[in-house]
């Protein structure tokens, strides 16, 4: 305890920071290598040369590359990502991100919780009923679940649910800041569409992990001591199966964010994903860079959280 934990923590933080800066550099250089002049795409192909020069000076595009990178990365650390080239006459990208991030976080967490809840039930039933009809049905449903493109599923859900049950709006999104119930209802179909393929993956992993643990000697020991079946399941089997389950949930956050990008666009949700797609159409490189970097930060933070959680869950790793 003490110094080793601290040293390990510092090492991790260092690696995290290095990854972040390298990632930012990569994003920056790739954007610079992209064909097309951002000034011309913002002002139009036939813009007057002096206007183009003013635009370039205004956005710092005439500075040397390393100075531009330094300006961008040092600004980014304080939440200043520059100004948008196309949206609303140059709004600060930082405030755009700040407005959109809570929406994406809400939808993402909502989908993650739905997926976790569905998979916890389905995976447990499949493992307990191994080889019986319920297992076969759930396992087949899981393969089908991973095979459906989420944005298509979103549309079909809208068609069948929103039109028959008007409590779920088919388009638009109520911000959780305005009305939490409204956000829960209007976010339900999008979240479900993202959750379905993920729930399938989680359930399969949980089923495999439960089956793997069920026949371990320590489970037999717990049974032979005289613990009830329920107690053994919750405290011994599920507890040990949680580690691969939590790990896969963490890994799938990358995939979830990809789903969020498309689904936000499909359902007209003003989140980070639809911002990035808008930026892609307008070749608005400050917006795209900022979005890519924000997604990178989210994934890195998730990885860290999963690692910490697994260390807590696994007594062997804690020592």
């Amino acid at each position: 305890m003490g110094s080793t934990t601290l040293r390990r923590g510092l090492r991790r933080a260092g690696i995290l920071l290095l990854t972040l800066v390298t990632g930012a550099l990569l994003v920056f250089l790739a954007m610079k290598a992209a064909p097309g002049d951002p000034a011309l795409s913002a002002l139009g192909e036939n813009a007057r040369p002096e206007l183009v020069a003013a635009f370039r000076r205004d956005h710092g595009l005439d500075l040397p590359l390393w100075q531009q990178f330094w300006a961008w990365i040092s600004g980014a650390l304080t939440g200043d990502f520059g100004r948008s080239l196309t949206l609303a006459g140059g709004v600060p990208v930082g405030s755009l991100i700040a407005n959109r991030l809570p929406v994406t976080a809400f939808i993402g967490l909502y989908a993650l919780l739905l997926a976790a809840a569905i998979s916890l039930v389905a995976g447990t039933i499949a493992a307990l009923q191994r080889g019986k009809a319920a297992d076969t049905a759930l396992t087949s449903l899981a393969v089908l679940g991973v095979s459906m493109p989420d944005f298509w599923l979103g549309y079909v859900l809208v068609f069948f649910l929103a039109l028959n049950f008007p409590i779920f709006p088919s388009y638009g999104f109520v911000s959780p800041v305005d009305s939490f119930t409204g956000a829960l209802l209007s976010g339900f179909l999008p979240a479900l569409a993202i959750a379905a393929p993920m729930a399938a993956v989680f359930a399969r992993v949980l089923r495999a992990a439960l089956l793997d643990v069920m026949h371990r000697p320590y489970v037999q020991v717990a049974r032979s001591i005289g613990h009830s079946g329920k107690f053994v399941f919750v405290h011994t089997i599920l507890r040990n199966a949680l580690i691969p389950y939590v790990t896969i949930i963490g890994l799938q956050v990358r995939y979830l964010l990809g789903g969020v990008v498309v689904i936000e666009r499909v359902f007209g949700i003003p989140g980070l994903g639809s911002l990035m797609v808008d930026g892609a159409f307008g070749r608005d490189y400050p917006v795209i860079q900022a979005c890519a970097l924000t997604f990178l930060v989210i994934v890195l933070m998730t990885n860290l959280a999963v690692d910490l959680l697994c260390t807590r869950l696994d007594p062997k790793a804690r020592a």
Binding site: T19, T22, G23, L26, V27, A30, M31, A33, A34, P35, V143, L144, V146, S147, M148, P149, D150, F151, W152, L153, Y155, V156, F159, V201, R204, V205, A208, A209, D212, P244, I248, L251, Q252, V253, R254, Y255, L256, L257, G258, G259, V261, V262, R265, M276, V277, G279, A280, F281, R283, Y285, I288, C291, A292, F295, L296, V299, L300, N303
Partner: protein, 280 residues
């Protein structure tokens, strides 16, 4: 006994997956030539007709036969995904095997780079690449390849590391074979099946990725009928003709189901330990 049963179950999944995949492959390879309708020819008398005996999946807003479009679109989407995933797999595997063999700083550096690429959500990475490279079919392939490169590099590196100290590799080393020869002829055949499983699941996800990008309008551009383009078309008139989007998606799901079952079956047959490392 139990192993036999498991093998049989794996074989059942495998054969079902293989069957669906073969039917789909036959459909997209031969289909466009045997359907009576062209994928691009317009027919303004039969606009948005519901599915019937002549047009099995109905027609779209230009009177084009949706089934013919799905078959040609499937051909294009499958090609994009397969070329993308396989080139990502080839480059990633080469890098990963090289890294495992060399070890030291080179390995650490290569793996750090792969970890960095892997830390971007694949769809976000693909979207980003579409902005950098420009929209269009070839760039979707490159984006998919880049998304799969780190996955295969890491997998190949880990598998190679487990193989490196096997007796037959040591024997080849003692015989004085060159490293490249050992990697290609001794190690690669032993890790190939696992890579194949990843590739078959990868191609399924690559199709979803292409469809997603093109659905948003960032991928393949309209006159070319890819699956994403057809789905995006179907969204335009979803209220009037829901079958275009719905049925196209059903066909896509069946095709992906085949590839996923194929991957599962192969995995069950080849390496039961790997079943835990699921995920697209």
């Amino acid at each position: 006994m139990r192993r036999m049963l498991r093998l049989l179950a794996g074989a059942r999944t495998l054969s079902l997956g293989l069957l669906i995949t073969l039917v789909v492959l036959f459909g997209i390879l031969v289909g466009p030539w045997i359907t009576p309708f062209s994928a691009t020819e317009m027919d303004f008398i039969n606009v948005l007709t519901p599915p019937d005996g002549t047009h099995w999946l109905g027609t779209d807003s230009f009177g084009r036969d949706v089934l013919s479009r799905v078959l040609s679109g499937g051909q294009i989407s499958f090609l994009i995904s397969a070329v993308g995933v396989l080139s990502g797999a080839a480059i990633g595997t080469t890098l990963g095997m090289h890294a495992a063999w060399r070890g030291g700083n080179q390995e650490a550096l290569l793996m750090a780079f792969c970890d960095l690429l892997f830390a971007f959500p694949s769809f976000v990475l693909a979207l980003f690449m579409m902005v950098v490279l420009g929209f269009g079919m070839h760039n979707v392939m490159i984006a998919i390849a880049l998304a799969y490169l780190p996955i295969f590099a890491r997998l190949a590196r880990n598998l190679t590391r487990t193989m490196m100290h096997e007796p037959f590799v040591q024997a080849a080393r003692l015989m004085g074979q060159r490293p490249a020869r050992i990697l290609v002829f001794e190690i690669l055949p032993n890790i190939f099946s696992t890579l194949l499983v990843q590739a078959s699941v990868g191609i399924a996800f690559g199709i979803v990725m292409e469809a997603g990008l093109s659905f948003l309008g960032l991928g393949v551009q309209p006159p070319t009928p890819s699956l994403g383009v057809i789905l995006a078309d179907g969204r335009e008139y979803f209220q009037r003709a829901p079958w275009v989007l719905t049925l196209t998606g059903v066909v896509v799901s069946v095709a992906l189901l085949g590839l996923n079952l194929l991957g599962d079956g192969l995995r069950d047959l080849t390496d039961p330990r790997l079943r835990k490392a699921a995920g697209p």
